[in-house]
């Protein structure tokens, strides 16, 4: 449990400032520092087995079916990164307390910083690749919030957006790569993947995987050509830069290279891709760093350059180079964090970061000057400092690589060139800032030394630079050894950490770099003049421009597709259906299957012809609405005859009664909707729609014919066999509805209820002006309730209700059941509405139907819940036979109660819909009379 505690402590700390921010920044800093210290302590304890070559693992199953486990793993590499993240994080917490402006209570800052720390710890300790990607995205998000910390600053917002876009896209690529790795290896467990490197490399998908993972790493680590976001992320407060751009955020990409080194490295493709990107980044960053007048800009480009150096080392495919890469991760983190902090101090004390104005600070802040100078000397690779050691190893490795064949000299040449510029910009940082005459027009003058404790983090980091540089064997060797072993995933090559290796070519390269760098710096005036003449390219503006172009393109496409015309959308969807049919149907070998067709009889043909004629007439006459409704009802009646013909009495009954309510509904709709005789579709549109209709109709008919004449295995025999023993009823359709698939039915009556309630809501406060005249100019009849209908309808009601009860009761064994009985009851009551009017009916029965709907759904639900009382799953049914005198033996099933629920819902919903629609005309009448 120690591992999750280490990762979660910063998350806990991130929550603390929420409660303490009113106490001021000092408390916030203290309270977030304590959990970090605790995590460091736990880390020290957890690391014990690692020093002996072991590792720590922890896992908890979360979604095992998806390969998602909450799994953590602490090996040498993860340990190294944890030390950097927590250690430098702690120093940044202290530093930020002194850095932030006085009016900032630090709550938001510390929360975001600790959230970021948490995500970084997650990235480096995840033992599950999907988990790793999750934390990876979390670092992108939290770094976005940190970079845009000064929300009022447009540059900060733009820089943050750029960083998020670039690293977010890389994150997507990484996700794709990780999913492919999981596909190839068959597991998302990092430990398994690390053991199956050969499997991945031999797979046909290896190049794709490699490119995707590298995209993730290169965008995060600001490798060329994705480097452009990093300098703009400098708009963040300096403690953030010190943290994100030395030890954490940008190192996450490097971490990925190191983590996947055993899986992906070792191939020619890896060499060419990684080495090229690394070399380009190294040189690009080093050269442009010299020309930055912004103090942090110089450090930003130098960071890019050093990241390129590390990437290059990992690309060389040599175990020793990988060791050097890991070593430089440590060194770069220490001196760069120190340098950023020193830059922050200078910025705070002088009020500017422009090196053309900051000069000669040696006089004003000699102590800070010494610290900054030592750190930049380490950056330049001056002997007796840590940067020298790893740079020496770097030079050695470039000399030993022969993978470029006859062009192998390019690598040491590029490395030396990078070294030259590295020395040049370090020299500029030292000379320009602390010497080089007097300060020019500083916003704050004279600058002073910062508060005592603000310097402590810098002092610690600089002391580490010196200690590692002078005594590498007793300071860093052990950590480097375990980290490098974990990176290589096996045995450690022979290497020797020492300050003095004798007179050799790498030393010569170092000397060339030192001398050359100082020489380059000496002719800086001519170089700056050349730089000033270069056309200015603002990466931010270019980037924003491109983003804007993409947005414009998307908006244009959207405008084209989202015209706001529903008619258009429907046409698009249907056109797509037609396209699929046209594309696939011609591939059918035959439109009929192997089963012989049933013989045709005359009555069926006659009915079919009537139906077809009625459907076509509905279409042709759709503007003469009364005729259309009559034709439509003919169609509905014949459809119910189809059900009768093909052994579906339940369907026929349902269809018949629904037909009645549908026609009522359409009549009401017709009454309110404007009549319109003129055609308002142009001929082009009509023919287009006709073509669509014919295509889709033909397609569906062909599919139906094919299925009907094909013998297929179905699950229906199960229902036929189990209907009586399992459900206690012989009408299989009803037993399926109330028993086997009772949950479905439950859902369906719920939908019915919701639709009814929705309709009720839509109708509330609706004011409609109904037409006084029919389309032919005749006034509507005033005789609302014809006497014959009224007289006939009243005795019909009890008869119809009796039939409904009969249909309901027999439903379990013979055609019928809750749905049909409910519809029959509704029709009987609706007839009273039609014949005698809403007012008359509501005087006699309560016109409020919502409780009925609710009662129905509730009853059905409770029947289901009741089975829990008998330790059975939801909606388990039971039945028994009871004997009543006079009536005889009959069966009582719990499903009947459920069916009662269905019945009530159907009655309630149907009446709720139609009675409320009918009331609209009542309002209209009232308006007329008043």
């Amino acid at each position: 449990m120690m591992l999750p505690a280490i990762v979660l402590l910063p998350l806990l700390a991130a929550l603390l400032p929420m409660f303490t921010r009113h106490l001021g920044r000092r408390w916030c800093a203290l309270l977030v520092a304590l959990p970090v210290v605790a995590a460091l302590g736990l880390l020290a304890q957890a690391s014990l087995p690692i020093w002996e070559g072991g590792m720590q693992q922890w896992s908890m199953a979360w979604l095992p079916s998806l390969g998602l486990n909450l799994a953590l793993r602490l090996d040498g590499l993860a340990l190294l990164f944890c030390v950097l993240i927590l250690g430098i994080g702690l120093l940044v917490v202290v530093y930020a307390h002194y850095y932030l402006p006085a009016k900032d209570d630090g709550g938001r800052f510390y929360t975001l910083l600790l959230l970021f720390m948490f995500s970084m710890l997650g990235v480096v300790t995840s033992d599950n690749l999907l988990f790793l990607v999750f934390f990876w995205e979390l670092t992108s998000l939290s770094s976005f919030l940190l970079i845009s910390y000064k929300q009022y600053d447009s540059a900060a917002r733009k820089g943050a957006r750029m960083a998020l876009t670039v690293t977010g896209m890389g994150g997507l690529a990484l996700l794709a790569g990780v999913l492919l790795i999981g596909h190839v290896v068959g597991s998302f467990s990092l430990s398994t993947v690390l053991e199956n490197g050969a499997l991945v490399q031999q797979h046909a998908l290896y190049p794709v995987i490699l490119c995707l993972v590298l995209l993730g790493a290169f965008t995060k680590s600001a490798q060329f050509p994705f480097h452009f976001w990093l300098p703009h992320a400098m708009a963040a407060p300096t403690p953030v830069s010190a943290y994100l751009h030395s030890a954490t955020m940008v190192k996450a990409g490097i971490f990925l290279l190191a983590r996947f080194y055993p899986v992906l490295a070792g191939t020619d493709l890896w060499f060419y891709l990684v080495t090229t990107a690394g070399m380009a980044t190294l040189l690009w960053g080093a050269v442009w760093a010299l020309f930055q007048h912004d103090l942090k800009g110089l450090l930003a480009f130098s960071t890019i350059s050093h990241l390129g150096l590390i990437t290059l080392l990992f690309g060389l495919n040599s175990p020793l180079a990988a060791v050097a890469g890991v070593f430089h991760i440590i060194n770069h983190a220490t001196f760069k964090a120190g340098l950023f902090m020193a830059a922050g101090i200078i910025d705070q004390q002088t009020g500017t970061r422009d090196m053309r104005r900051i000069n000669g600070l040696w006089k004003y802040m000699p102590y800070t000057a010494v610290l900054a100078m030592v750190a930049s000397a380490a950056m330049a690779g001056v002997p007796l400092l840590n940067g020298f050691l790893s740079k020496e190893m770097f030079f050695t490795e470039t000399l030993q690589s022969d993978q470029l064949g006859a062009m192998s000299w390019l690598l040491p040449l590029g490395a030396t060139l990078g070294g030259v510029f590295s020395v040049a910009y370090s020299a500029r940082f030292i000379h320009d800032v602390f010497f080089n005459g007097e300060p020019v027009n500083l916003p704050k003058f004279p600058p002073q030394e910062p508060p005592r404790y603000m310097k402590i983090p810098v002092e610690i980091l600089v002391a580490l630079c010196v200690a590692v540089g002078v005594f590498p064997a007793i300071t860093v060797a052990a950590l480097l050894a375990v980290a490098a072993t974990a990176t290589l995933g096996g045995t450690l090559p022979e290497y020797h950490l020492a300050v003095w290796h004798g007179l050799n070519i790498p030393l010569l390269m170092s000397v060339i770099a030192l001398v050359g760098g100082i020489a380059v710096y000496a002719c800086r005036r001519r170089l700056f003049a050349w730089y000033a003449r270069l056309p200015e390219i603002d990466a931010k503006r270019v980037f924003e421009g491109r983003i804007q172009a993409v947005v414009r393109l998307a908006a244009g496409v959207t405008r084209r597709l989202q015209t706001g015309s529903l008619q258009g959308y429907v046409a698009w969807v249907l056109a797509l259906v037609a396209a699929v049919l046209v594309w696939q149907l011609p591939n059918l070998a035959s439109v009929t299957g192997e089963r012989a067709m049933l013989p045709v009889d005359g009555v069926s043909v006659l009915c079919a012809l009537m139906l077809i004629a009625a459907a076509l007439l509905t279409t042709v006459l759709h503007r003469q609405r009364m005729m259309a409704i009559i034709c439509l009802s003919v169609v509905g009646l014949i459809v119910s005859l189809i059900f009768v013909r093909f052994s579906a009495p339940d369907l026929a009954l349902t269809q018949l009664s629904v037909e009645v309510v549908s026609v009522l509904l359409l009549m009401l709709a017709m009454y309110f909707l404007p009549s319109r005789a003129k055609a308002d579709s142009n001929p082009l549109r009509v023919s287009r729609d006709a073509v669509l209709a014919v295509l889709i109709g033909t397609g569906v008919a062909v599919v139906a014919l094919l299925v009907m004449t094909t013998d297929t295995a179905t699950i229906s025999p199960f229902f036929l066999e189990n209907s009586v023993p399992g459900g206690g009823g012989t009408n299989v359709v009803n037993v399926i509805l109330v028993d086997f698939r009772g949950f479905d039915t439950f859902g369906e009556i719920t939908v019915l209820g919701i639709a009814a309630l929705g309709i009720y809501a839509l109708l509330s406060d609706l004011k409609l002006a109904s037409a006084k005249y029919d389309p032919f100019g005749r006034p509507w009849a005033h005789d609302a309730h014809p006497l014959v209908l009224v007289t006939l309808s009243r005795p019909l009601l009890p008869l119809a209700l009796m039939i409904a009860v009969y249909i309901f009761l027999r439903g379990h064994n013979l055609p019928g059941g809750g749905f049909v009985a409910g519809l029959i009851t509704s029709v009987a009551l609706l007839l009273q509405y039609v014949a005698s009017g809403v007012t008359w009916v509501h005087k006699r029965i309560p016109g409020d139907y919502h409780p009925l709907v609710a009662l129905g759904v509730l009853l059905a639900g409770l029947t289901g819940v009741a089975s829990w009382a008998f330790d059975a799953p939801f909606l388990t049914s039971t039945f028994t036979h009871v004997h009543l005198p006079l009536i005889g033996d009959f069966e009582l099933a719990s499903a009947m109660l459920f069916d009662t629920g269905v019945f009530l819902t159907v009655v309630g919903a149907t009446l709720l819909i139609l009675a409320n629609l009918g009331k609209l005309s009542l309002l209209d009448d009232k308006k007329e009379t008043t």
Binding site: Q567, S604, G636, T654, L673, M708, E748
Partner: protein, 111 residues
Amino acid sequence: MELLVALIIGVLVATGVYLCLRARTFSVVLGLTLLGYGVNVFLFSMGGLKINQVAVVGASADPTDPLTQALVLTAIVIGFAMTAFLVVLALRSQGEQHSDHVDGQDGEQRS
């Protein structure tokens, strides 16, 4: 007979699709109702056609497929509820926008 049913399905779907593409809400309601018939018969026919073989245990020697019937039965009722919802939506749109055009307004005909 299957051919006849397929023909019926085709005609119902085609007329339904055509009416759904009209501009006036009333036509669209008619179209959806026709399309609903077509789809219900289509679903029903997926179980195969049998004459005089009701799916009641003991009533027939070779009962027809009860499952598609059960599905279509609820589909008919839900179809009615949805048609009703659509009608009321059309009425509401008429009440609010004073137009029965499906796009909410009588604009120029878009193609």
